[in-house]
């Protein structure tokens, strides 16, 4: 018998790796994040197609042009799609079930993802009108967590036609 027949095969090795990175938010996103501290939601409008992007990334992905014009959008809007989270995972901070939703803020042309609270998960639906619940000013930072969550406004549902392009 040769060695290859008798040697116990190695089935795995441990090779730990750790690399630390910095993240460059960029000019547009930095201004968006700074405005959250002031309780404002800053967006950018495309000079070609007129679409309003939030959070802005400095470019219109459809046209590939810089979006320099800044506009403020409302801190309320319409739920276009949502997901009820029923699965436990590591680092989960919220108790399940909870709802993540895409919210079309009034004046924006792209949905913003955030949490929906102060309502039972099974009551959340498309077209539901919601508003931001901000952290107190002294607790805000340049992060989307400056908005704690969105909650229903109690307004009548938005008509499907008003958000069908954004679903």
């Amino acid at each position: 018998m040769s060695d290859t027949d008798t040697v116990e095969p190695v089935r795995s090795i441990r090779a730990p790796a750790r690399l630390e990175y910095r993240f460059t938010a960029g000019a547009a996103q930095s201004r968006f994040l700074r405005h959250l501290v002031e309780g404002k939601i800053l967006a950018q409008r495309c000079p070609q197609c007129g679409k309003v992007y939030v959070s802005p990334r400095g470019a219109c992905a459809a046209d590939g042009v810089a979006t320099r014009e800044e506009v403020e959008v409302a801190d309320r809007g319409t739920v276009t799609t949502f997901c009820v989270v029923n699965v436990k995972f590591a680092q989960q901070v919220l108790t399940i079930p909870y709802v993540s939703a895409t919210i079309l803020l009034d004046g924006a042309d792209i949905g913003l993802m955030h949490l929906i609270q102060e309502v039972e998960a099974d009551q959340v639906h498309m077209g539901m009108r919601v508003e931001a619940v901000w952290s107190p000013p002294e607790e805000r930072g340049p992060t989307l967590e400056s908005i704690r969550y969105f909650r229903p406004t109690g307004e009548p549902d938005a008509a499907y036609e008003s958000y069908r392009e954004y679903v």
Binding site: I13, L19, T24, R57, A61, G64
Partner: protein, 348 residues
């Protein structure tokens, strides 16, 4: 083969840290400049392909966000290589050989400033027997430099490459590192990782570049002096450093032969470390009459995933501006010149 040419090239000035702009904000001006330089309307470009590396950003699928700079609506034909943009150029050239499309946009971007680059590059090594030892990229290059010196070379040859590259870079506004130094005084400096001194290593650079290719009549229509690609080839060697002769570059030699890399006036060689330039010169059989790296090369600006495409862009630029009639651009990838691409261009 279908006639394909480089008709436009643009690059950002290389800097140590682009800490204000994200990748999209960096790409937008450079892609626009390349497209406008070609005169081809953006929406008429047939194929788009990019080169970048998620490990540099520390985020998966980071190239997808880069697409925001392109204008991908209505949907475009698009591809990506997890490599230097030079290999994106290769894919674009192959795609144009199909014959149904006449133009392509090639772009690449890379920020070395986001993470510990010397350690990030370890992840390209053999994951079982080499990477767990974490030999950083300068140490790996130093192994090659040591082998090369012991094959009969002197450190003064390396210092001369450094001095010439940084001196030439003074005429290149896109370069990051340029200076006038006497090779003899460079040799008085301490080793960084023996036998490499600081000047033997490339700068850490953030950058981006974009290129437009056009085929046949379209190239003639949009460009007075297109840089026609007369040959393009890339070859790879074994992954294991121990099974290679690090003092030569057989993959470069083979790619050069297949690409017809003879009788060129200018060669832009992607040699991030000084000792790699003479290895590449020898593999490509470049005589003393060939001007090598007039841009300063990767020793003057080394944005990862960009520096290779930039070599080809610089070589193409010299055809387009009329200062050369036949030029060669080279790009490398992997540790110690593992994989090499040669692109030969000419005026017609």
């Amino acid at each position: 083969m279908r006639d394909v040419a480089v008709v436009s090239f643009a690059q950002l000035p290389n800097v140590r840290s682009e800490d204000k702009r994200n990748e999209v904000e960096m790409l937008m001006p450079v892609i626009s400049e390349a497209i406008e330089g070609s005169g081809i309307p953006r929406k008429e470009i047939g194929f788009t392909v990019s080169g970048s590396c998620d490990y540099l950003v520390g985020a998966p699928f980071s190239f997808v966000t880069g697409l925001d700079a392109v204008g991908a609506w209505p949907p475009i034909q698009e591809s990506h290589v997890e490599m230097d943009g030079a290999w994106a150029l290769y894919e674009a050239w192959v795609r144009l050989q199909h014959g149904d499309l006449d133009s392509a946009l090639v772009y690449s971007f890379g920020k070395s400033s986001l993470g510990p680059l010397r350690d990030i590059m370890v992840l390209q090594l053999d994951p079982y027997c080499v990477a767990p030892l974490w030999p950083d990229s300068i140490s790996v290059a130093a192994l090659q430099a040591r082998a090369w010196l012991e094959s009969g070379h002197e450190e003064s040859e390396m210092a001369e490459v450094a001095a010439r590259s940084r001196r030439d870079a003074k005429a290149n506004p896109m370069a990051q590192l340029s200076e006038e130094r006497d090779p003899a005084t460079l040799l008085e400096e301490p080793y960084l990782v023996s036998p490499l001194r600081r000047h033997d290593c490339p700068p850490l650079s953030d950058g981006a570049a974009a290129m437009i290719l056009a085929a046949g009549d379209l190239a003639r229509e949009v460009c007075e002096r297109p840089a026609w690609i007369s040959g393009l080839d890339h070859r790879i060697e074994a992954h294991g450093l121990g099974v290679r002769d690090l003092t030569t570059s057989p993959s470069t030699a083979l790619a050069g032969r297949h690409a017809g890399g003879t009788d060129v006036e200018v060669a832009e060689l992607h040699a991030p470390f000084t000792h790699q330039e003479p290895i590449l010169r020898e593999a490509l059989e470049l005589g003393p009459q060939v001007t090598v790296n007039p841009s300063g090369g990767a020793l003057a600006a080394n944005a990862m995933m960009v520096a290779g495409l930039t070599r080809i862009g610089e070589a193409a630029r010299r055809i387009i501006d009329g200062s050369a009639t036949r030029s060669l651009g080279h790009a490398t990838s992997g540790p110690c010149l593992q994989q090499n691409l040669v692109c030969v261009m000419e005026a017609r």
